[in-house]
């Protein structure tokens, strides 16, 4: 959280000696606030001032790394409460939780390993698998943690409040320390031992406590033991309270730069109703959790959560674009219609979704409009007859279809004549709004 010039000025010697190269301390403070100078230029700056500025330069929410290698995820380091203010930076981890007293735990670990989906060119899914200590049997626990490490699809999370169990598991499971599991974790009773273990193995530590005040008391003590990679578990009696606590932790960090709560968070969705578990978890994806843990490993639970996360962590400052190329909707043949649109992701997905709804297989030529929508691209000349004709040619449609008819968005109807001339294709003007596509398509082929 940055400091204002006046806040910095209050910490300076206020002697206006000029050593820093500016005539007054106030002028220097303004430079510092604008990050145009560093405090090193002032020879008389106090240690207090140095510490305060250093703390202000730190991100308000610590970046925490879980896992290693390809499976490593980074969480935290968020800067805003609302994504439109900037963007959400580090998408939350999704974690499948498996209790060690479940008879079919091995199968579940296998199943969790398959929870990866390709969506808009990204692999999305669960990056973490937690083994939860319920059996009280250290061998069983270690065996399952080992299975997660061996499976090598996700990073492990150890859920237990027993420091001895954590230690024995690290000793028993080969490669566990290298996999950098999240150990969850520390609480008011065991924090000292847990912090020692986290420091020794250099792994991130989950911390839970009864309420935010208790949490804020624990974290500085753990930090004093050399552990700064922490993930906060605020608990909560129900989903509402958990959401409130997650919100409050984020605000304490961002609005107050309150260091003891300046860490990413973890939230649990549990229960007997697997659909409700997924629904509850969706709240934590949108409302600030750094890791969302769900009891369940059904793909229909994970796919919506991973999709929601992909949506909300999309940077709103960048116009999202899809690759400009020829797409197939359904299984188009040489007689299927050809539809032209732009590579603005929202336009593309809407158009494709509506064509799918029409159940008419089609070819979709996506023109590179630098991620602009139809109207914007048209007015900025990113979409004109030449560009469109070039796109039709480049994707090699002439070999794929036996006709020369292309459908263009209704909004660029004025371009029809020029495009016909430029491309040699017959142009049909499609609807303006995508919702009219299904009717249009069905009429076209009937």
């Amino acid at each position: 959280m940055s400091m204002t010039a006046m806040e910095i000025y209050a910490l300076l010697p206020q002697t206006n000696c000029g050593e820093c190269g500016t005539p007054t301390c106030l002028a220097f403070a303004m430079q510092l606030a604008n990050k145009q100078a560093t405090l090193d230029s002032c020879p008389d700056a106090s240690d207090e001032a140095r510490a305060a500025l250093a703390a202000a330069a730190e991100p308000p929410i610590t970046l925490v790394e879980i896992g290693s290698g390809d499976e490593q995820i980074e969480i935290g380091n968020e800067t805003v409460m609302f994504r439109h203010e900037e963007t959400f930076h580090h998408q939350c981890g999704l974690c499948v939780c498996i209790a060690d007293d479940a008879e079919d735990a091995e199968e579940r670990i296998e199943k969790a390993g398959e929870l990866w989906f390709e969506r808009i060119g990204d692999m999305i899914g669960a990056e973490l698998v937690a083994i939860e200590d319920r059996s009280g049997d250290p061998d069983r626990f270690a065996e399952l943690v080992s299975a997660v490490v061996q499976n090598d699809k996700q990073s492990p999370v150890l859920i237990t409040s027993d420091p001895d169990l954590v230690r024995s598991t690290f000793e028993a499971v080969e490669g566990l320390a290298e996999a950098r599991p999240l150990v969850h974790g520390a609480d008011a009773e065991n924090w000292s031992d847990m912090a020692d273990i986290a420091a020794e193995y250099d792994v991130p530590l989950g911390v839970s406590a009864d309420g935010l005040e208790a949490l804020a008391e624990l974290t500085p003590q753990i930090k004093d033991k050399g552990v700064d990679q922490m993930v906060l578990d605020p608990g909560g009696d129900d989903q509402l309270q958990t959401m409130e606590q997650l919100t409050q932790i984020r605000r304490q960090a961002l609005d107050n730069n309150f260091r003891p709560l300046g860490y990413p968070t973890i939230a649990f969705a549990r229960g007997d109703d697997p659909r409700k578990v997924a629904v509850d978890a969706s709240t934590y994806v949108s409302k600030y959790a750094g890791v969302v843990v769900i009891e369940g490993e059904e793909p229909w639970q994970l796919l919506p959560l991973a999709t929601l996360r992909q949506n909300l962590y999309t940077d709103p400052r960048v116009p999202p674009a899809v690759e400009a190329k020829l797409y197939e909707v359904g299984e188009p043949t040489e007689d299927s219609p050809v539809v032209l649109t732009t590579n603005f992701a929202l336009t593309y997905f809407t158009v494709v979704n509506e064509i799918e709804a029409s159940r008419v297989p089609a070819w979709v030529v996506v023109v590179d409009t630098e991620g602009q929508s139809v109207l914007t691209a048209y007015s900025s000349e990113n979409l004109n007859a030449e560009v469109a004709a070039e796109a039709i040619k480049e994707v090699g449609l002439e070999e794929k279809v036996n006709h020369r008819d292309v459908i263009i968005p209704g909004y660029i109807a004025v371009m029809s004549g020029a495009l016909e001339e430029e491309s040699g294709w017959n142009v049909t003007v499609g609807p303006r709004e995508a919702t009219a596509i299904p009717t249009f398509m069905r009429r076209l082929v009937s």
């Binding site: 959401m243 409130e244 304490q252 309150f258 969706s282 992909q310 709103p316 799918e356």
Partner: protein, 315 residues
């Protein structure tokens, strides 16, 4: 350690809009806080679920959804009644589509008769949507509006290009109106201004910012909702209208809902996918500020009802 909570307080309130009359009337809006942050202000009215009922079985629906709805799907009146009796909905969202057919379209009088029958059979407040096609809708709105005159329904939708007929008829017959905008906060405000300039009272407008389903541009409308709500709580009166979101119809069209299990075995059970996709679309928008969600799947409705109960329970 004592921790002083960071609390936001807002000096402005979202307008309260009442749909329906008498005992079954439903009031939405009225918030002086962000969604479900009860410690910082009031949320006097819970968000509401409206059951989508169609005048003909939508030809894009999955078998799962049709089966879950039951045989009543073939009769919109019975369908709506089932919503009241079995699924406990408090609002009916009637979607008129048959008047916009190319061949043998329903007459405005047919549409009006259906709307009246449903209103009478259920006794619930009604939301009525046109087909989204300007000409056929323009003929239908006045007739339907008049038939439901005095019932304080919510009719939609008015857009920047086409709002006059609907606004005039809503004012004449004492209804509320839906102001629609294409995921654009400025147009959202503009429609509210246009409609109020014609004499519509500010507390008779619900805004529909147009929303995508989960996976299909949800983030755009999500942020529009958050921005709208922040602007309203910050004092922009022309943004302070309750928000309606179409959680059911949008999500039920998604590939992830419709794809068969043999096409995408890695996606798991389609029946569950369809329910959870719709429900998580709804939760996301509820967390961003939606006051009414229109929904399709009975099981998704059950989940969201339970969800709203949890998030409104401050005991």
């Amino acid at each position: 350690m004592s921790l002083t909570p960071v609390k936001k307080s807002w000096n402005h309130q979202i307008k309260e809009v009442t749909i329906g009359t008498g005992e079954s009337a439903v009031t939405v809006g009225g918030e002086t806080t962000l969604p479900f942050l009860h410690d910082e202000g009031d949320m006097p009215n819970p968000p509401r679920i409206a059951l989508d009922v169609f005048d003909a079985v939508p030809d894009t629906w999955t078998e799962d959804l049709i089966e879950a709805t039951g045989d009543e799907i073939n009769d919109p009146v019975e369908w709506a009644q089932k919503g009241v009796e079995e699924w406990g909905v408090e609002l009916i969202s009637l979607n008129l589509t048959q008047h916009a057919l190319e061949e043998d379209p329903a007459s405005p009088e047919d549409c009006a008769k259906l709307a009246e029958e449903i209103a009478e059979a259920t006794g619930l407040p009604m939301i009525v949507w046109g087909a989204g096609e300007e000409e056929p809708d323009r003929d239908v709105y006045p007739v339907v509006s008049q038939a439901l005159s005095g019932q304080r329904c919510l009719l939609g939708s008015a857009s920047e290009e086409s709002y006059k007929t609907l606004t005039a008829t809503c004012i004449a017959d004492g209804h509320n109106i839906i102001g629609e905008s294409p995921i654009d906060i400025n147009i959202c405000k503009q429609v509210n201004i246009l409609v109020t300039d014609m004499g519509m009272s500010e507390d008779r407008i619900v805004v529909f910012p147009t929303n995508g389903a989960l996976g299909y541009g949800l983030e755009y409308a999500y942020s529009i909702l958050e921005r709208t709500r922040l602007a309203a709580l910050g004092g922009d009166r022309m943004m302070a209208m309750p928000i309606i979101i179409r959680a059911g119809t949008e999500s039920q069209r998604s590939k992830e809902v419709k794809a068969k299990e043999d096409e995408f075995p890695e996606w798991g059970s389609r029946a569950d996918r369809g329910i959870v996709w719709e429900a998580t679309t709804a939760t996301s928008y509820l967390q961003a500020g939606a006051d009414i969600v229109t929904m399709n799947h009975p099981e998704a409705i059950r989940l969201i009802r339970q969800y709203i109960d949890t998030f409104m329970n401050t005991e």
